[in-house]
């Protein structure tokens, strides 16, 4: 076990790395909420499905990296018809779509339970290298996960802020009706956003699978943290989501050095309450939100 400064740093880095995965998943949740107005209660279960599918692919091919490529594609193929046939008919009715996503959440969990089983399983680390860092030996795969997550987040960011497709998504996020009157096919934007958001959650699941245990209820824990992140960051604010994910996860990580995991999680709730008391719209939310 590490000691002293290295000890705290170890937990802080752990938190920060976890924060990048949470940021990736929360970005998807935030996009889906921002563009579609849907509170996606099934988002954590899409993360779980990513991990479960990854488990199967690793058992099948013995190669983790193949699963990182294929699983997002499979999830995209599931997400597109889900948006079109389950969510689209209730577009503009936030409470109905929210209940629909609760239903999707149950279905995904039960399908996973029926096929994968109720016992947590582990995927062995795909990169058995560790780095010595301030007297602490740190698993290389975790650093790799941080790098991959950061790259994907940067990629999504560039897509949204530097491409013409990204402009159409952001325009739809700000004023759907006007976007449509400008000739933007908002329905395509909606389905694209749901697919993109779901793929981000699934990638999070694949990346997290070797770090945490693969379990059919693993999404519940993550979705809670993601909602806190999105709320603290400010509803509909993508930069708020990113910053809140990194901030809260580092805090939780550092707290884990002194407190039990449950107490550390309680700290996150305390931070959320404090933020909402001082800024009800969240750190980066607009006043109207």
């Amino acid at each position: 076990m590490p000691e002293g400064v290295g000890f705290i740093l170890f937990y802080l880095i752990n938190g920060l790395i976890w924060g990048l995965i949470i940021a990736l998943i929360s970005l998807g949740l935030s996009l889906i909420f921002g563009v579609m107005g849907i509170v996606n209660m099934a988002h954590g279960d899409i993360y779980m499905i990513g991990a479960v599918l990854s488990f199967y692919f690793v058992s099948l091919f013995g190669n983790f990296w193949i699963s990182l490529l294929i699983v997002p594609l499979i999830v995209a193929l599931i997400a597109a018809p889900t948006e079109r046939f389950i969510l689209r008919p209730f577009e503009g009715h936030p409470s109905v779509t929210m209940i629909a996503t609760v239903g999707i959440s149950f279905i995904l969990q039960q399908v996973a339970l029926a096929t994968f089983g109720g016992i947590p399983k582990k995927i062995s680390s795909p990169w058995e290298v560790s780095f010595d860092f301030l007297g602490v030996s740190y698993p290389g795969y975790r650093l790799l996960v941080a790098a991959i997550s950061a790259l994907i987040i940067i990629g999504v960011w560039l897509f949204l802020y530097r491409t013409s497709l990204g402009i159409l998504i952001r325009a739809s996020m700000q004023d759907k009706e006007m976007a449509s009157a400008m000739g933007i096919n908002v329905n395509k934007v909606l389905i694209g956003t749901f697919v993109l958001g779901s793929v981000l959650a699934a990638i999070g699941g694949v990346l997290a699978a070797p770090i945490s245990q693969v379990f059919y209820l693993m999404g519940n824990d993550v979705i809670l943290l993601c909602f806190i992140v999105v709320i603290v960051g400010g509803l509909g604010s993508l930069e708020g989501t990113l910053i809140a994910a990194l901030l809260l996860s580092s805090v939780e990580g550092a707290m884990a050095a002194f407190l039990t995991p449950t107490e550390a999680r309680a700290m996150i709730f305390i931070i959320m309450v404090a933020v909402l008391m001082l800024r009800p719209q969240g750190l980066f939310g607009s006043n109207s939100a």
Partner: protein
């Protein structure tokens, strides 16, 4: 000449309230037409119905001879109808350039952007500024510029003079005249009667969801009573 835009007896509801009670009007190619009326007469609803944002329960809208009534708004826009809504409705969190790009659907219309800057030179210096930080006049310019970039054959302008200083109103008149010279058809909804009279060749007066009067500018020159009767104003 066949009308470019022909609205035939449309009836539109907002929930239970019966807003448009059989509106018919037409705009010919290159023609500037104004739709006047008091607050709540249904002018904005007429434009929103043409745009496909709300659907009429009865009636038909023809554009270039095609029935566009069942089309979603994005298809109406792509058919060649540009919309400049009341209150500008810019994408506030995006830059001026990004707002313009939402209108640039067709590839390679970079030249079009230069034409826009000829028309609205002020926008050129503000490209990287957020739309919400622009002045009222600049916002109106951006809203029109954005619609023009969709390369429409007709422009629907909803109360473009609202909140503009007199100097900017006359600047807007020049812009409309320039567009008219270039052959753009315009359907202008307006509450400022003198402004509408100065730019429109033909005018419709709406009262309680119906067209109450239609006439050319010349017809109206010696009929001041029309303005008093339908708008309650002396011109």
């Amino acid at each position: 000449m066949m009308a470019l835009l022909k609205v035939e007896d449309i009836h539109t509801y907002y929930g239970d309230s019966y807003v448009l009670q059989g509106v018919s009007l037409e705009v010919k190619r290159g023609e500037v037409v104004a739709l006047l009326g008091r607050n709540g007469a249904g002018k904005t609803t007429t434009l929103r119905t043409i745009m496909g944002i709300i659907k009429p329960r009865r009636g038909k809208i023809l554009f270039k001879g095609v029935d566009i009534t069942p089309m979603p708004a994005f298809k109406v826009a792509r058919m060649g109808i540009g919309y400049v809504p009341q209150g500008r409705r810019l994408f506030p969190e995006m830059t001026v350039l990004e707002n313009l790009k939402t209108g640039m659907r067709k590839k390679g219309n970079g030249d079009k952007l230069d034409e826009i800057f000829d028309l609205f030179p002020a926008l050129k210096d503000r490209l990287s500024q957020k739309a919400s930080t622009l002045s009222g006049g600049e916002q109106q310019a951006l809203s029109i510029a954005r619609a023009l970039l969709t390369e429409p054959e007709i422009l629907l302008l909803d109360e473009p003079t609202t909140g503009l200083m007199p100097l900017l109103v006359s600047r807007l008149r020049e812009v409309i005249e320039k567009l008219h010279e270039d052959g753009m058809a315009i359907l202008l909804v307006e509450e400022k009667v003198p402004f509408a009279l100065s730019v429109a060749e033909r005018l419709y007066f709406m009262v309680k969801g119906k067209i109450a009067y239609e006439g050319s500018r010349r017809d109206l020159e010696d009929k001041r009573d029309v303005f008093i009767r339908y708008l309650g104003v002396k011109n």
